[in-house]
């Protein structure tokens, strides 16, 4: 199930709180991306994954630290577009001959006005509806010097190098976060980056569905599958998708712990057994769960008891 052969964008995670949002925004553009922690990235890894472009995320560290997290240098030999965001931009500068200073100017947190410089840049095409655009910043360190091959395309009051690029090598850096909603032009910027990278926008739920069903068929073969149903959306979609692939080689087990909402257990049973004709074992275990919870008032213990009991019941019956 590892990959479904979509074109891939690699997001190297340096620990930003909002890294996941980069992947979300890209999904909205029908681009498949994977987030991997920086420690995992090696030349071998890059070769195997074969991404069409790389985004370096933000992160809480400073590139001026001795043990600052960095990606392998080989990312620059792949001849694919790279976009560095916040800490990611500083990583680019640190590795490519620019300079980053601790609080070079004042730190910026929150909404900031970004101004265009006179030069035009493919990455910013259509991003500026007026001279200033609101962008969301969150940084202490700033780039204080850029290498010769780079040029400045956007500035804010406290970030002289808010947008920089080496157009020839297709390496871009932004100090702000295009992935958050508070940067209204951010999605356009990411779309421009994906155009520069030549993506075909082949990630859609329909294409996922077909490929996923094919994968499940190959993966399962003549074997049998069990699937626990909780009544929630995730396990229900899992079960139904697998059923579409392998039919009655799937058996669902529904552990009813008696702690569901009004009518929920009945509707799960009805939907799966009657509508979808999926093999379903319905275990009504409300007494068992209530007894185990007798006299327990600590929320964490309640959660643990239910989790463990769930496993126990499930194990016994499968």
């Amino acid at each position: 199930m590892k990959n479904l052969n979509h074109e891939k964008l690699l997001i190297i995670d340096f620990g930003s709180q909002v890294t996941q949002l980069i992947a979300r925004r890209l999904r909205e553009l029908n681009i498949y991306s994977e987030i991997h922690p920086f420690q995992k990235i090696s030349s071998v890894f890059l070769k195997e994954m074969d991404p069409k472009a790389i985004i370096l995320s933000g992160g809480p560290r400073s590139v001026t630290d001795k043990d600052a997290p960095l990606p392998p240098k080989s990312i620059f030999n792949m001849n694919i577009p790279i976009l560095g965001i916040c800490y990611g931009q500083q990583v680019l500068m640190h590795m490519l001959g620019g300079k980053v200073k601790k609080s070079f100017k004042t730190s910026e947190f929150g909404r900031t006005k970004l101004r265009k410089t006179s030069a035009s840049l493919d990455l910013l095409k259509g991003c500026f509806r007026k001279k200033h655009e609101d962008v969301w910043m969150s940084h202490g360190d700033s780039v204080s010097k850029i290498p010769e091959e780079f040029k400045v395309y956007g500035q804010s009051d406290n970030a002289t190098y808010a947008v920089i690029a080496d157009v020839n090598r297709r390496i871009y850096g932004v100090q702000f976060h295009p992935e958050v909603h508070h940067t209204p032009m951010g999605k356009k910027l990411l779309e421009n980056f994906s155009k520069i990278s030549g993506f075909k926008y082949d990630w859609t739920v329909e294409s996922f569905r077909n490929k996923a069903i094919a994968k499940i068929k190959t993966c399962v073969g003549q074997n049998k599958v069990i699937c626990g149903l909780s009544g929630g959306v995730d396990s229900s979609v899992t079960a139904l998708l697998i059923h579409k692939a392998i039919g009655n080689k799937l058996t669902c087990i529904f552990v009813d712990h008696g702690l569901l909402r009004e009518g929920e257990a009945e509707s799960v049973v009805k939907m799966f057994k009657d509508n979808f004709k999926i093999k379903l074992i319905h275990l009504k275990e409300d007494k068992l769960f209530l007894n185990a919870l007798k006299g327990v008032s600590d929320p964490e213990r309640k959660r643990k008891i239910i989790g463990n009991l769930f496993i126990e019941v499930f194990e016994k019956k499968s």
Binding site: D13, R209, D234, G307
Partner: protein, 210 residues
């Protein structure tokens, strides 16, 4: 019991265990100090299960985000009302009965919750709200119904808006809505004599009470 034994035998040669793991569950987290050990979050629904069972895992949704799962669900034929249901925690009503639980409390809570959600649906607010539910409070309070003094449970209603569950605001119901809902709950659920509305945001509060 016979049926179960038979069923269990029938599926004895099972080799795969399917789980509804989503992408946010499998993204390896970066430790903030940049240390070399990246942790993988264990799936909250069935932590520990695979190891014990010696089954191969089948996780067809592990590349998807929640809203993509909803879209896929609709695509393959799940009813729209089902896939757009509000999130519900694995431990269920147990963590919405604050403190110790018993059958009476769970049954009371289930009724209150159902009246509250019914009100929200009737007023056409269900899809505007990220999550709405009732919590049963561990305290009884004094009330008066008819000419009788009552000493019954009180409940809290919670409804929040959110984009991703990470932060949340309480939903600004009208006073009319709140009044009507409170009256319905006290009238329709015997054993409840006080209704409160939780107006805490997340942070500092959490969405669930426990």
């Amino acid at each position: 019991m016979k049926y179960l034994k038979k069923k269990a035998k029938e599926i004895k040669d099972v080799t795969f265990l399917a789980q509804g793991t989503l992408y946010p569950d499998v993204i390896e987290s970066v430790s903030p100090t940049g240390g070399p050990s990246a942790k993988i979050k264990s799936h909250h629904n069935v932590g520990g299960l695979p190891k014990k069972m010696k089954l191969k895992l089948l996780e067809p949704l592990r590349e998807l985000f929640k809203d993509e799962v909803r879209t896929l669900g609709k695509e393959i034929g799940l009813p729209k009302e089902f896939v757009s249901r509000h999130p519900f925690p694995g431990p269920g009503l147990a963590i919405r009965c604050v403190g110790e639980i018993n059958q009476e409390k769970v049954d009371l809570l289930r009724k209150v919750d159902s009246v509250f959600v019914d009100q929200i649906r009737k007023h056409g607010l269900y899809d505007e709200i990220w999550q709405a539910f009732a919590a049963l409070l561990p305290a009884k309070s004094v009330g008066v119904m008819g000419d009788q003094r009552t000493y019954n449970y009180s409940c809290a209603l919670r409804a929040v808006t959110s984009v991703d569950g990470m932060t949340a605001d309480y939903y600004p119901f009208s006073h009319n809505f709140l009044g009507e809902t409170s009256a319905r709950i006290v009238n329709e659920v015997k054993g409840i004599n006080r209704v409160t509305y939780d107006i805490t945001s997340k942070p500092p509060g959490t969405i669930e009470w426990e």
